[in-house]
Point group: C2
């Protein structure tokens, strides 16, 4: 079991900076993130893209911002559990909290800071009855290993870049490739759309436009994808695999079951302390909400500072001064 002052759920930019602000007040942090590396969306989705609205950085690559934050918090020696998702948050009789991950890691902390960003990203699923019965039995929401589909009859659904890119790629491997899209135009890059039309004309894939998924048929495994064509007539496609690629949707995940007051999918916080409805549990960054809330990284940084000045009273009730000194005067004292 890992013992710490503060367990931070989420190691994106705001979770990382919370280590700095709490570290200035001599509190230790352990961070848990479902992703295999720190940085949240910035590392996972756009490490090579510039950000322009971090104060004092006219332009900074998302990946560089994360590296700078890692250097900034290094004096406070945070510890990490990466690639695991916190499933349970259990308040203990002595006022502490016990957190358990999906892989059985247990952390005990005096306070919890949820910096979970937009939550975990989960695939948007089509509204098809009995869909879940075929998951991992032919239905997948992302292509992990394209070789799995070599020689198979594959149906892809969707009209964005992901659907177009995989349709092009798998049309070379699959025995038969169908692309189903509910409109006549694609949302993805025009160039990709053109290539897909060319492949369809060349007979390399079967294009079904203004079409809809209707139902799935099969026994233990998926055998058939039934769609309606542009004339609303049913067409049954013999298929080994269906890959709906309708994008990723952020989900709160297990956090939704921790008994915190929510507003839509955000955690409500006090605007002075950034504490949630559960005393000792704080929420900062994109995952929280309060009147006027802006989902900006810089606002999450501010919230981290405000939170630190509140949580110190719980974690270090003996501490005389909880006022932040100007670091210009005092410097940084690591531990």
């Amino acid at each position: 079991m890992i013992q710490t002052d503060i367990c931070i759920v989420g190691a994106g930019p705001v979770g990382l900076f919370a280590v700095f602000e709490t570290g200035l007040l001599e509190m230790r942090c352990h961070l848990i993130d479902a992703l295999p590396q720190v940085g949240g969306q910035l590392s996972e989705l756009y490490p090579q893209k510039p950000i322009y609205d971090i104060p004092g950085h006219p332009s900074v690559l998302a990946g560089d911002l994360i590296r700078n934050l890692e250097a900034q918090i290094a004096p406070f020696k945070p510890t990490f559990t990466l690639g695991e998702r916190v499933e349970q948050l259990l308040p203990q009789a002595d006022g502490r909290f016990r957190l358990e991950t999906n892989r059985g890691t247990v952390v005990e902390a005096k306070a919890v800071v949820i910096a979970g960003g937009l939550g975990s990203f989960e695939p948007r699923k089509p509204a098809l009855e009995g869909l879940e019965a075929f998951e991992q039995k032919g239905v997948e929401y992302m292509v992990r290993d394209p070789e799995v589909y070599r020689g198979k009859r594959v149906v892809i659904a969707g009209g964005g870049d992901s659907a177009l890119d995989w349709a092009m790629y798998l049309s070379e491997l699959a025995a038969e490739l169908h692309l189903i899209h509910r409109r006549d135009e694609f949302r993805g890059a025009p160039d990709s759309g053109k290539k897909v039309f060319d492949l369809a004309e060349a007979g390399k894939l079967h294009l079904h436009l203004s079409a809809q998924l209707v139902r799935l048929e099969g026994g233990d495994e998926l055998e058939r994808v039934v769609i309606t064509d542009r004339n609303k007539e049913e067409v049954a496609i013999e298929a080994d695999a269906l890959i709906p690629l309708f994008g990723l949707s952020p989900k709160l995940g297990p956090i939704a079951d921790w008994g915190l007051d929510l507003d839509k999918r955000q955690i409500k916080v006090d605007v002075e302390t950034f504490e949630t409805s559960l005393p000792g549990v704080y929420a900062i960054g994109d995952i929280n909400t309060y009147p006027g809330k802006l989902k900006l990284i810089l606002c999450g940084f501010h919230e981290a500072a405000m939170m630190a000045h509140s949580v110190v009273k719980r974690v270090r009730p003996d501490r005389k001064s909880t006022t932040m000194k100007y670091t210009t005067v005092t410097g940084i004292s690591g531990f």
Copy 2:
């Protein structure tokens, strides 16, 4: 007369960053600052000192942070009036504001953002009756040009670094140098204190410890400084100059007379909009107060973003979207 969307009073780091956040929503800014350059305290008091608590900067020299902010706001072409102090803030019948400086510059704006930091720095004065009658007639609160004191009889009062440093320096120029301090130990650097004691032993200056200023005497000009010594007995020192060096104290200055709700010397603001009690006038950074307020630069940056999302409704009521887009997606559009 200068016409603008927003007049920002104070060109420190938070005032500068407010140009960026309002610029993203297509509002133009004019900034006024009493100092001759932008950057506030960071440029004036400690440009060469490192700051450690700006997120994403493990360490940044105060002067470099200001230069980065200047580069960051350049696309929005802010205009400046420097070296002038805003004296008057006059709400107009049409909802606009007229601002007048001590040098007669007039700015008319749709909204005003006060980012005045700790206010203007003014010397702490001793509580002596009739003190002001001798100001500029022997009494000065800072040493502008030490040569003025060559061959003069000078009394310095104070026990901090400034008093010690100038006592050492002026003991070489002055005909006679007295240092008055109310305690037996100095507050300044121990090494400086030791040098001052050595100078006193060598007869280069007259040290009066556990002593108090009592009154000033003279005609048109200062002639005599009367003190009490450690036995509470009066001693009259013939003197051409008295330099009380009791430190600088931040003052709100004319802002105190603009009819805004204050709490001590800070301007009260709404925590969602950062608007003051006077609609259309906002306050951000160290000059404002709200429950839990932290005087950190990064909190001022957050307040600038929140303010921008409120002020846009007044400045651009026709604008459809006031939501900030992620700059990573949209980039920065200057004007």
